[in-house]
């Protein structure tokens, strides 16, 4: 009896020890990022001003602001979304609402996993080979955005499919039994009840797209351009590439400038991600059935 108790106590402390170890490991993953964010804010914060955000760079990119890069990123993201959201939602609808459990479906799933897993620089090579050269879009927003769109397609597909699947099958059955076609069922019941979840995924995609660098390096983003893009066939600056350029390619950039650019970029990305997460939490709390 007493022995058993002693053993229990030892087990208790072993368990407590492991619990602490795992907590420590979790913190070790999160802590560096908190520190990095702190450093970025501390050293990049002073660089940020209205002037920084709203003027083009000057003096060989060692001074001035980041306006063309900001606007360029917006262009790239918007065009990429226009291309990827319809295709991604269609693919998710197929997989969730139509696809039988067969080889084709498994092939599509495997293709999606690989689109997400192929290195970004390989997507860049594809963009160069297909859009810049073969389709003759040249290095342009169009080519860069299409490359980004294909790269982030899995994000839309996976998140859309997940939110479609939160709509219970009973609702679909009820509609089908009334004589509604599959498409009518999707339009009247499935989409209205998953649209906010889809939107969450789209916001997530915005955040992914805005931060990518490698896929746009050779397809449409340029180191420096004093002009704002006027059409999708123009080249453009972009925030992510700008950070890379002023940090590695341009001499004598004052230190606070790259920190400022990094801070703006990561703020954009995290804000979008946070928005997506907040939206999801809000949706989870609001039940319609």
């Amino acid at each position: 009896m007493f022995e058993a108790t002693a053993r229990n106590r030892r087990n208790q402390s072993v368990e407590g020890g492991f619990r602490l170890l795992f907590l420590w490991m979790t913190c070790m993953l999160i802590l560096p990022v908190v520190l990095i964010l702190g450093v970025l804010i501390y050293r990049g914060g002073p660089a940020i001003s209205y002037e920084f955000l709203l003027t083009p760079p000057t003096d060989g990119m060692t001074a001035g602001g980041i306006l063309p890069a900001l606007i360029g990123t917006v262009w790239l993201v918007v065009v990429a979304l226009l291309a990827s959201v319809p295709v991604g939602v269609a693919a998710a609808l197929y997989l969730s609402e139509y696809a039988p459990d067969n080889r084709l479906t498994r092939a599509i799933n495997l293709a999606i996993i690989n689109l997400a897993g192929v290195p970004s620089i390989v997507h860049a090579l594809f963009g160069v080979g297909a859009f810049v050269i073969f389709f003759r879009f040249g290095t342009s927003i169009l080519a860069a955005s299409l490359t980004l769109a294909i790269m982030t397609l899995p994000v839309v597909i996976v998140s859309t499919r997940e939110s479609l699947q939160t709509v219970p099958r009973a609702f679909r059955e009820a509609c089908w039994n009334m004589g509604a076609t599959r498409w009518q069922t999707i339009r009247k019941v499935v989409l209205p009840n998953s649209i906010s979840g889809i939107l969450t995924g789209v916001i997530l995609e915005v955040s992914r797209t805005a931060g990518e660098t490698a896929p746009i390096m050779f397809t449409g983003a340029v180191f420096f351009s004093p002009f704002l893009p006027q059409s999708v066939l123009d080249q453009t600056m972009a925030m992510s590439l700008h950070l890379f350029v002023i940090q590695t390619q341009v001499p004598n950039v004052p230190e606070h400038v790259p920190f400022g650019v990094a801070l703006v970029l990561i703020s954009m990305v995290l804000a979008m991600n946070g928005l997506s997460i907040a939206f999801r939490v809000y949706l989870r709390g609001r039940k319609k059935w």
Binding site: I36, Y98, L115, S120, L125, L153, R169, F218
Partner: protein, 314 residues
């Protein structure tokens, strides 16, 4: 009456068209994957069928594509660079993300658990160019100071950065794998008097083994394919590394650094696309294997296909 009702009306045709359109959307994923292979292959073809020697590519460490008299295209040093950085990253990421997955999945509860999951998700959102920037401007001086190294851009720097980058996705997949272990297993073990830790060690981890392997594979794939962070933090020297303080150059970084300065269609250009094909094939294999493990089967065992909602019970 029946005959009149049995018409293919507008909604029937709309439904057919919609079905074809969404099928096209689904097929597009396959088209893109095949397209990636074909278009990169098309650019690299000239080199693959003429100057290319698999022996030189895999066994020679000499990557001198811009040499005037005798350009060589040995990728061994680049492969070694990628492998060393990825390897170190896994040394960092595997234990920590497994630990984090166990903590989040088995110990944390309620609000704390949700918060940790959100934080992990935010980690995954940090763009790779920002990580590269961190490696260059924060880790670099740190390594120089702590280890008294001449330069801080090396395997150590990029390995740690890459480990931190790969950890979130590995944590998420590993936690999913642990969550997929049925609660009845845990309850059965607890009913026999096992402690929480014994349950995890003896029941949960073995049962979730496939998912954990998949998480590691995806982490390797991520590290293998990471570009900007490795480009900025690894020192970028073609080199067979012998210590963590050596600078190396990765496959991905080579493409990113050289493609912009290469004439379209030249042998060098084609060689870079050949590197791309190599990367594509390796990551395709890794992802395929990870998918096999995620589906819970070693090859040979029957796969548990993900069934679409339309055929799943509510």
């Amino acid at each position: 009456m029946n005959a009149a009702a049995d018409r293919r009306d507008l909604s029937w045709w709309v439904d057919k068209v919609a079905q074809i359109l969404v099928l096209a959307g689904g097929l597009s994923a396959i088209v893109f994957i095949v397209g990636i292979f074909l278009f990169i292959g098309r650019e690299g073809a000239g080199f693959i069928f003429e100057g290319f020697s698999l022996r030189e590519f895999l066994l020679s460490p000499r990557w001198t594509p811009t040499s005037n008299h005798n350009p060589t295209f040995g990728a061994l040093a680049l492969i070694a660079g990628t492998a060393s950085v990825t390897g170190l990253a896994m040394v960092v990421a595997v234990p920590f993300s497994l630990g984090a997955a166990i903590y989040i999945g088995e110990f944390a509860t309620g609000r704390g658990r949700e918060t940790l999951k959100v934080l992990v998700e935010l980690l995954a959102a940090i763009p790779s160019v920002v990580w590269g920037f961190v490696g260059l401007s924060i880790m670099n001086p740190l390594i120089v100071r702590v280890f008294d190294a001449p330069v801080g851009l090396n395997v150590l720097n990029s390995g740690i950065i890459l480990g931190l980058m790969a950890a979130p996705i590995m944590t998420t997949i590993a936690e999913d794998a642990l969550k997929a272990v049925p609660d009845t297993y845990r309850e059965a073990a607890e009913a026999m008097g096992a402690t929480r830790w014994q349950v995890i060690l003896k029941v949960v981890l073995p049962a979730g083994r496939n998912g954990l392997v998949a998480a590691t594979l995806l982490g390797v794939g991520r590290g293998f394919g990471e570009t900007m962070a490795v480009l900025m933090a690894s020192g970028h020297a073609v080199n067979l590394p012998t210590s963590p303080f050596d600078a190396v150059r990765a496959l991905t970084a080579t493409i990113a650094a050289e493609l912009g300065e290469t004439a379209e269609g030249s042998e060098h250009w084609q060689a870079l696309f050949t590197l791309g094909i190599f990367l594509f094939l390796v990551t395709f294999t890794i992802n395929f294997l990870a998918d096999v493990f995620v589906r819970g089967g070693l090859p040979g065992r029957r796969r548990r296909g993900r069934r679409p909602v339309a055929s799943a019970n509510p």
